[in-house]
Amino acid sequence: MGFKEKVVPTIRISDSLLVPIQIDLDDKTVEQLQAQLLAEIQEHRVRAVILDVRMVEVIDSYISYTLTETAAMAHLMGCRTVICGIQPPVALTLAQMGIELQGFLVARDLEHAIGMVYSP
């Protein structure tokens, strides 16, 4: 996948894909992110995707829908997805709207996330 098509630069560590999202997500970028991640999972035989959303200030119903959809698709490709770094205001908003991030393992931070990925 060419550099130009990537909305989020990713880092590959052994067979995991680390995705630090440093931009505020909107409808278009989250859709592009989905396409990008699926392509990378396929191309590099990734076993786990770790989304780090520390910098994301708003996750609304569409963004969370697209993210859970991505997790479900990744699952079908034999890949587990971990989300980490959800900020307290975002967590409170999601909880109040009654949104669950289905299909995601939820981690406190990167260290915790890596622990989940490699847990036997």
Partner: protein, 150 residues
């Protein structure tokens, strides 16, 4: 015709601090950003700023998806009796909603890429939510959130 809806569709833009027209996808992010800024100016907690921004994001997306063009109007109401509040009016002259009760049910959606959480989620996030709609005329949603005492 619904008087409340007519009144909201004709409401003067001059009475608002911010008016964002919603016709392109990027406008959703702009509306969200403006809402965030006004809530911050009113001294809302960070969590409540995020809740207001998220609710506006949902409102703007509903317009973009089902009824563009429309507009999001936001005003600060520092002197409300229950404490300073922010009010958002989302208005469009789109197709209108057939059953308002049904769209407020969590999980109901006509869109294939949606959780059906939009309006019910907005209602949970805000302190006040009113919907006026008529098929063929348009839809107006008024939501408010006041600054919490603690």
């Amino acid at each position: 015709m619904d008087g409340k809806l007519r009144e909201l569709l004709d409401i003067s833009e001059n009475d608002f601090d911010v008016v964002v027209r919603i016709s392109r996808e990027e406008d959703i992010a702009i509306a969200r950003q403006m809402a965030k800024q006004l809530a911050q100016e009113l001294g809302f907690s960070l969590a409540d700023v995020t809740k207001v921004a998220t609710a506006v994001s949902e409102l703007a997306r509903n317009i973009y998806r089902y009824a563009k063009p429309g507009k999001i109007m936001i005003r600060k109401r520092p002197e409300e009796s229950g404490g300073p509040a922010i009010q958002v009016v989302a208005a469009d002259r789109g197709p209108g909603i057939e059953s308002v009760d049904r769209v407020l049910t969590k999980g109901y959606t006509t869109h294939e890429r949606s959780l059906g959480i939009g309006l019910s989620g907005i209602r949970r996030l805000m302190d006040f939510c009113e919907i006026a709609s008529e098929v063929g005329t348009g839809t107006a949603v008024v939501v408010e959130k006041r600054r919490r005492k603690f």
